[in-house]
């Protein structure tokens, strides 16, 4: 499996079950594996959220007419969200819940996590449900929407 951020496993969102076996149940902690820049960002979740929202709004608006999320990989907003690292994952999941732009958010989730919780999903709707199930069962909420505080 590729580990490059911009070159995720082929079919990252819809990997075959067999391909997905190795990584499907890997525990995922939103900030523990982020690079140093992202660690710093994760320590300030409000700033992460603000930056995410800035990029996400731009990306949601400008990607309306795009038929392949591959064509977005050099878009400043797409790159900006990738640069936030895994702390952006809870906010991407929140975007999935709200509906619009789901192919783009799914693509970013696949790139950022390199996990295939939607393996075998046939449609955007099914993939969305799979990621939201994954959020409940696998994601340790360290920041962002759904985070809990003692």
């Amino acid at each position: 499996m590729s580990s490059a951020v911009l070159a995720p496993p082929l079919g990252a969102l819809w990997l075959d079950e067999e391909e997905a076996e190795d990584s499907y149940f890997e525990p995922f902690v939103a900030s523990s594996e982020a690079d140093s820049a992202s660690d710093e960002a994760a320590s300030e979740p409000l700033l992460v959220q603000q930056e995410f929202d800035f990029w996400a709004e731009e990306l949601a608006a400008e990607s309306i007419v795009v038929s392949s999320t591959r064509r977005l990989r050099s878009h400043p907003a797409f790159v900006g969200i990738l640069a936030l690292g895994k702390p952006a994952v809870p906010y991407l999941l929140e975007r999935l819940r709200t509906g619009e732009g789901r192919p783009v958010w799914l693509s970013l989730l696949g790139l950022l996590t390199e996990l295939p919780p939607a393996a075998g999903a046939e449609t955007i709707e099914d993939a969305t449900k799979a990621w939201l199930r994954w959020e409940k069962t696998e994601l340790v909420p360290a920041s962002g929407p759904g985070a809990t505080t003692p």
Binding site: W14, V66, G110
Partner: protein, 165 residues
Amino acid sequence: MTSIGDVLAFLPRLGEAPHKVTSQPADYNCVGWVNRDFKHWWEPEIHWPAATIPVPPLDEPDLDSYVALFESWGFVLCDDGSFEEGLLKIAIYSRDGFFHHVAKQVPPIRWWSSKIGRAHDLRHETLDALYDAPLFEGAVVTNFMQREYEPDDDFALEIDGLIPA
């Protein structure tokens, strides 16, 4: 919800060109629309017959992979988009070997029908009505393909869609 105004903002020529919106926004793309597939977003990382058409490497030209996909659906490359009795043609927009969009003919009225990104289906009289979109990066029609269609094939969805006139 995405409005047609949002779409027109990113397709500068369309607003000035004859067109008609024929659906509400939905999560299938122009590739699926070729076959009236309302369920799938056809793209190598999302929904793709990888067993028969290899997934092209990321960041490398992928137009040939889309052509192979359409060939698997019975289309063959042809010279142009002129209307010919009994043939359904598609027009592929690309730049530098990167796929951007595909539109299909609507033979009864001699227009074209496109699913625009994640937005609406619409029909447009000319192919260049979709040119100059900022995120199309200057893509233009580079390939035409065609296949036969049955004389009684219904094009009502492409002509009037689900939206009352």
